[in-house]
């Protein structure tokens, strides 16, 4: 084990898992974006149809999905800042490990601000 590489940015540990999470959340957000542009564009050709689609966005199960989507967006956004700092900040690579946990901490904090508000909106109208 003595020769096991350690401290590289993308191999093993936090560096690798943040990269994996960044990809997974990115793909999830991308596919939501495709749907979201289409459902919003529907308003131009069928206003009543738009309201019908929005009604499905207000169900409890899609509401839970929205909560997950925002969690994914929060991680992807904050970890994106971490990546920028690794690339452009002189000490970025040195602190990438700490910055990952700052990302997680901030994401949890922002999520704690969002989730109760959204879930109350979702579940108080069922």
């Amino acid at each position: 084990m003595a020769n096991r590489p350690a401290g590289t940015l993308y191999r093993g540990k936090v560096g690798m898992w943040s990269w994996v999470l960044h990809r997974i959340t990115g793909v999830a957000i991308f596919f939501f974006l495709l749907v979201h542009v289409l459902d919003t564009a529907l308003i131009r050709i069928d206003p009543a149809g738009y309201d019908a689609v929005m009604a499905t966005y207000k169900t409890w199960y899609i509401g839970l999905g929205e909560t997950g989507l925002v969690a994914a967006i929060l991680f992807h956004a904050l970890n994106g800042v971490r990546i920028i700092l690794i690339d452009f900040w002189r000490k970025g690579a040195k602190f990438q490990n700490v910055m990952f946990w700052v990302v997680i901490g901030l994401a949890i904090l922002l999520f704690a601000g969002f989730a109760p508000r959204h879930l109350i909106n979702v579940f108080s109208h069922i």
């Binding site: 974006l33 542009v37 206003p47 925002v70 969002f114 909106n121």
Partner: protein, 152 residues
């Protein structure tokens, strides 16, 4: 016998490096998208009734304001290109056959351009006061129809 030292293999590249600009785009658009999407989520999901307030009249109200029109179009363009370029990176990494990789990358950009055009057309040609059915729906959704249509 002398040792032959080859000249360095990395040539100095001249000219336009598209991948470099792609790399820069991801970071630049990423920063802007944090502002745009966080603002979008706050205005649509955190204020008032959140998701339950969103309907035809809600969007008609927002798009009566040039501020949100510019906000939404900028977000649309930046996000779709950011997402498509990110997906292109994944396709380049994971598609093993060249023709599959090429096809998927083409599909991604076609989808991207199509959705940008569809989104911009939907927003710029949007007229919530254009016909009676729309006006009825605005009233049903609880909008102040006179004020809203004066703004559009």
């Amino acid at each position: 016998m002398s040792v032959i030292i080859e000249s360095p293999r990395s040539r100095k590249r001249s000219g336009f490096n598209l991948e470099k600009y792609g790399w820069m785009y991801m970071r630049l658009s990423g920063v802007l998208l944090i502002i745009l999407i966080f603002g979008h989520l706050f205005a649509n999901l955190m204020v008032g009734d959140g998701i339950h307030a969103i309907n035809f009249a809600f969007v008609a109200g927002k798009w009566a304001d040039p501020f949100w029109q510019v906000w939404d179009v900028t977000m649309l363009v930046l996000a779709l290109i950011h997402g498509t370029n990110g997906m292109r990176t994944l396709v380049n990494d994971y598609a093993e056959r060249e023709w599959i990789r090429r096809t998927l990358v083409w599909l991604l950009w076609i989808t991207c351009v199509t959705l940008i055009v569809v989104g911009i057309l939907a927003l710029t040609t949007f007229d919530p006061c254009g016909d009676q059915a729309s006006l009825d729906l605005l009233a049903k959704d609880g909008a102040n129809v006179a004020a809203l249509c004066a703004a559009h």
